[in-house]
Amino acid sequence: MKFSVPIFDVKNLSFIVKEQTILSNISFEIFSAEYIAIIGPNGGGKTTLIRMLLGLEKPTSGEIRIYGKKLSDFKEWHKIGYVSQRASHVDNSFPATVLDIVSMGRTSQRKLFSPLSQDDKELVRDAMQKMDIEDLAHKMIGTLSGGQRQRVMIARALASKPEILILDEPNTGVDIASQKKFYTLLSKLNKEDGITIVFITHDIGVIVDDIARLFTINQKAIICNNPKQTLSCEEMSSLYGIDAHLLHNHKHEH
């Protein structure tokens, strides 16, 4: 794994606005097929970090490479699926069926001047099947529950056949039962389809068994390579204001 080109290669990344340091000197690599959770307190800079990875925010200093390329030279954005923090908060009156939204996942790759091809439609159907929302295809997005919306947003991202999925707090406002189901789906995408998964979350206790690495972001980053066994991870997390006994309790249950 270490010999391949990382999907993301981040070096000494800093983000400073109005003399306030939001992120400071962050470095990490993300490799293909990894399953990574990012935790950290509110306002710690998690969303900002993700936005910089996607080119939505310009770092003050440091370098980001995607598949070995500079961000400005990278063109294959369809390889990266992104579900933003406010994705599920769609305006209820926005005129979109579930199918309309999932089809957006094909928009950037369709040939100019042509409608969605048969292949495109098939990929849209596959994505809906994976997220178990086929029955909802013709429902209006505004009528769905939080958990259903969340799966629609991920299906939209999946429709572009991404190699990596980046999810920013996908589970806020979703009930516990749906969350469990959701993590099962995520883990399946990672294991069966080999999709690299990076997600920001608050409920680390629920998913700690599956994740390969844990990033704690609070201005600085702490990368924890084996969150299940390394006790120091827990200590480091608490240093940075993370609710570490979630991790702790979880370990004792097993």
């Binding site: 063109k75 979109a96 069926t97 957006m104």
Partner: protein
């Protein structure tokens, strides 16, 4: 009922009106969904400035309207990217600036007359054969652009940032959309008038949204509502000798109220 079509000017007005209804409603859908409704109002006033210059300098006012609306649209997009937080203020400044300048120009040029009045509120009497040609040419170009990029415009209206991260050239397409809207507004001021055109862009879509249906149906509903309003409005305008823009807007408002009532929950 159809005796009005015995008049050539009425035939021309109907052709222009139908083209405008199609363009205004389709482009209006994207503008409304982007929460950019106010831009129509501003561009209409910039188009009026073009008309004023055209009237005084004796150039074709329609051409001048197209040029000024386009220039204004580009200026808005440039200023928006340069001073992103003040985007609504930019619209207001350009609106009043254009209007003030237009009034000064027509006052100095002595063109404050019926002709200007017809550009403010629309007139079925004023559509010339040359206008029909200009409206058709630009109309086809605008419609083709809207249809070619409708999926992209829809995605951008839904979530600009996610569209950007999926590889869609958002800035370029935003630029293209406002350009098309500028052209459509300029073309519309003959029949609908610059003070009322933005209503024809916005209200059909807002009415269609009340039905809570998917994207394609929303566009089709809004198209039907705009077509009906324009045709009914022009007919009323003919029989009661009223400015067509005003009668068209009253018709579209009437449909809006009906769609509100029938979809009440």
């Amino acid at each position: 009922m159809f005796e009005m079509f015995e008049y050539d000017f009425m035939q021309r007005a109907f052709i222009a009106g139908i083209i405008i209804a199609i363009l205004a409603s389709i482009s209006g859908t994207f503008i409304v969904l982007k929460r950019y409704s106010l831009i129509g109002e501003t561009l209409a006033h910039s188009a009026l400035l073009g008309v004023a210059i055209g009237l005084v300098a004796e150039y074709n006012p329609l051409w001048m309207a197209v040029i000024f609306a386009l220039f204004s649209a580009w200026l808005i997009e440039y200023l928006r990217s340069a001073f992103s937080i003040y985007s609504d203020a930019i619209l207001a400044i350009l609106l009043s600036g254009s209007l003030a300048l237009a009034i000064i120009i027509v006052s100095l040029g002595g063109a404050f007359n019926n002709s200007l009045f017809s550009y403010l509120f629309g007139s079925i009497l004023s559509v010339s054969s040359e206008d029909i040609i200009v409206i058709s040419i630009f109309g086809v170009i605008s419609l083709v652009t809207l249809l070619l990029f409708s999926k992209e415009f829809y995605f951008i209206a839904y979530d600009e940032e996610v569209a950007k991260t999926s590889g869609i050239k958002v800035n370029l397409l935003n630029f293209l959309l406002v350009s098309v809207v500028a052209v459509i507004i300029a073309l519309s001021i003959r029949v609908v008038g610059s003070l009322l055109i933005s209503a024809l862009m916005i209200i059909p879509t807002i009415s269609a949204l009340q039905f809570r249906v998917g994207f394609l149906k929303t566009v089709i509903f809004s198209l039907i509502i705009a077509l009906f309003s324009v045709m009914a409005g022009m007919t009323i305008s003919f029989y009661f000798s009223l400015p067509s823009g005003a009668t068209i807007v009253m018709c579209v408002l009437f449909i809006f109220i009906i769609s509100l009532i029938t979809n009440r929950r």
